[in-house]
């Protein structure tokens, strides 16, 4: 189980990095979300999978024995919710940037960088 998950994490993060390094805006955003999924799977794998029984305490018992660790599941639930919100935010941001720049090429996004002036200094600000 851990090995399978490790392969999935590697795949998700590898594909994520490949996409994030692309020049296409949408690919970058999807790449970031894939890396986030890899991080979420890492947290899920933290339970170690020694026990796979659901972590539910039966009526009369007080101690949970031979059941899965519930904490990584609670953590990953939180992380998934936050990660989903981040994906939504990044897509909205990406669409706004694409509309403002009229381009989805990363290399065209130079509006927040200084332009080179003729004298080797940055160009004089207009406003």
């Amino acid at each position: 189980m851990s090995l399978l998950l490790a392969l999935c994490i590697g795949l998700a993060i590898g594909v994520g990095i490949h996409l994030a390094l692309s020049r296409d805006l949408l690919r970058v955003v999807i790449g970031i979300s894939l890396i986030g999924s890899g991080a979420n799977l890492t947290v899920l794998a933290a339970s170690g999978f020694r026990f796979l029984a659901p972590p539910i305490v039966p009526g009369e018992a007080t101690v949970l024995a031979a059941a899965a660790d519930p904490l990584p599941q609670a953590l990953v639930l939180t992380a998934i919710v936050i990660g989903f919100a981040l994906v939504c935010l990044s897509i909205v941001l990406m669409l706004a940037v694409r509309a403002a720049a009229a381009s989805d090429d990363i290399d065209a996004l130079r509006a927040s960088e200084p332009e080179d002036g003729s004298d080797g200094k940055p160009v004089v600000l207009k406003d």
């Binding site: 994030a20 970031i32 986030g36 933290a46 904490l71």
Partner: protein, 491 residues
């Protein structure tokens, strides 16, 4: 007299709940949002003052929410380091909202401005007070969402692009942090700082180094350390002045705080090579930041690069791995937040007089506005480290400790970068204040003199604090030493 549980609960929760409540009210009542937000900042300042007083009297306060005892429940720990950071956060909130009221290069008053700003404050305070590493991750993500919202608020093209660059790199930082939490939990079974510190004793040096490095890599990205600071100069200069001062003061310092918490407190037993590497990263950060600043003529870009360079000093204090080094870092963080925010506010006042942030279009302000020159001189000289201002003590402690520990190169780098900082500040001084206004430029008409009183009061408050920190450093240094002692104490 010992504090009651409910009092501790209220004291520790107030810096989180007050900004959240103010943000919620501001969202529900957009017409009064500015007033609610300012009242919220004042309330936060009062709560922070009470918390500092309580911690000074009673020592570290710990509380858990939801009746689950630590280490199972999420613990909040108000130790001297955390409350000092909360206090300076509250100060920043008051000052920046005061400046916003003057209308000078102000953020557009949209319906979401104040809710986002208060959310950011709540997230920053939460990060400083939490005693749980997963909870810290949650506050980091909240901070990221609020910061991206504020960056994109103006909807100008450069702002949106800056926000995107900020988002991509910082999101990677938090994801790395999340993965590190996963590894850490898998190995130790703990998330609570105190429990992790206890568990660190049972880890092999290589494991400890790996965990500390994975955590710190994410934090260093957020702190703007070399070579991961590209997002900072790409995004900060697009912000309106009050938000720029708030971001410049607080956000990178949350990253530095987290590094200090990991390497100075939780994993202080990490192998020496970690501190050695951090020291060289800090030197590279100082030097690249200050050289980046030398190229620019836009005051905001110059000052943004100086954030990077000053972050190097704070990291170097952590890298020294000694009581004096950590004490110096705590003092440096507080000094730097006050001074850096003030420099951005003064830059906005200069830009208002001459009509541009570009130094080549400025000039003649020494004759025209001598008081503004004084307002610039205090934080600028403090940033350089001229006695008797606050920056002198901050740098003195770190340089002295480097020499005591025989890190000669680090000490030399700090002094050299101090000179280059002086070069940048002198550039602003000569260009904006000393040289006459360029003849080919028509004198700029700043328009009707608006309610600049609030802006001047905000800047004067920070300048006064810089002087107090410089002339009476004893109580602040004692508090910083107490912060270090609380970090060194074994739970």
């Amino acid at each position: 007299m010992a504090l009651l549980d409910v009092q501790i609960h209220a004291l520790v929760a107030a810096p989180l709940l007050l900004p959240m409540m103010a943000g919620l009210l501001a969202a529900l009542l957009p017409r009064w949002a500015a007033a609610i937000s300012f009242a919220g900042a004042l309330a936060l300042a009062a709560a922070a003052a009470l918390l500092v007083a309580a911690v000074a009297l009673h020592g570290t306060l710990r509380t858990t929410f939801g009746d689950w005892p630590a280490p199972f429940g999420i613990e909040f720990v108000a130790d001297p380091l955390g409350v000092a950071m909360v206090a300076v956060t509250a100060l920043m909130a008051v000052v920046c909202l005061l400046f916003q009221r003057s209308g000078i290069d102000a953020a557009p008053e949209s319906d979401v401005l104040h809710p986002l700003l208060q959310l950011l404050l709540a997230a920053v305070c939460g990060a400083f007070l939490t005693g749980d590493i997963f909870n810290l991750y949650v506050w980091f993500e909240l901070m990221l969402v609020a910061a991206v919202g504020l960056l994109a608020l103006g909807r100008r093209r450069d702002q949106l692009e800056g926000a995107l660059k900020y988002f991509v790199l910082n999101a990677l930082g938090t994801m790395l942090f999340l993965m590190a939490i996963g590894w850490l939990y898998a190995r130790t079974g703990h998330l609570n700082f105190a429990a992790l510190e206890a568990a660190a004793g049972g880890l092999a040096a290589a494991e400890l180094g790996f965990f500390a490095a994975a955590l710190c890599l994410g934090f260093l990205l957020k702190a703007g350390a070399f070579p991961l600071f590209a997002w900072l100069p790409a995004a900060y200069h697009t912000l309106p002045a009050p938000l720029l001062a708030l971001f410049a003061g607080l956000l990178t310092k949350v990253g530095v705080y987290a590094v200090l918490r990991v390497l100075g407190d939780v994993f202080a037993t990490a192998p020496d090579v970690m501190f050695e590497v951090l020291g060289w990263v800090a030197v590279a950060t100082m030097v690249t930041g200050v050289l980046g600043a030398a190229f620019h003529w836009d005051m905001r870009r110059i000052l943004a690069f100086h954030i990077v360079s000053q972050i190097g000093y704070m990291l170097l204090g952590i890298a020294l791995d000694s009581a004096a080094g950590r004490t110096g870092t705590v003092f440096y963080i507080v000094h730097h937040i006050i001074v850096k925010a003030n420099l951005f506010l003064v830059a906005a006042l200069v830009a208002r007089e001459v009509g541009s942030y570009d130094l080549r279009r400025a000039g003649g302000l020494w004759a025209k506005r001598p008081m503004l020159a004084l307002f610039f001189a205090i934080p600028a000289l403090s940033l350089v480290g001229i006695p008797p201002l606050s920056g002198f003590w901050a740098k003195f402690i770190l340089v002295r400790e480097s020499i005591v520990l025989e890190h000669w190169t680090w000490a030399a780098a700090m002094l050299l970068v101090g000179f280059l900082t002086l070069y940048s500040m002198m550039k602003i001084w000569f260009e904006a204040f000393w040289k006459p206004l360029p003849a080919d430029l028509a004198p700029h008409d700043p328009g009707p003199r608006g309610p600049a009183f609030a802006a001047i009061a905000a800047s004067a408050l920070l300048a006064a604090l810089t002087l107090v920190l410089g002339l009476l450093p004893e109580p602040f240094l004692d508090f910083a030493a107490a912060a270090n002692a609380a970090m060194e104490a074994v739970p």
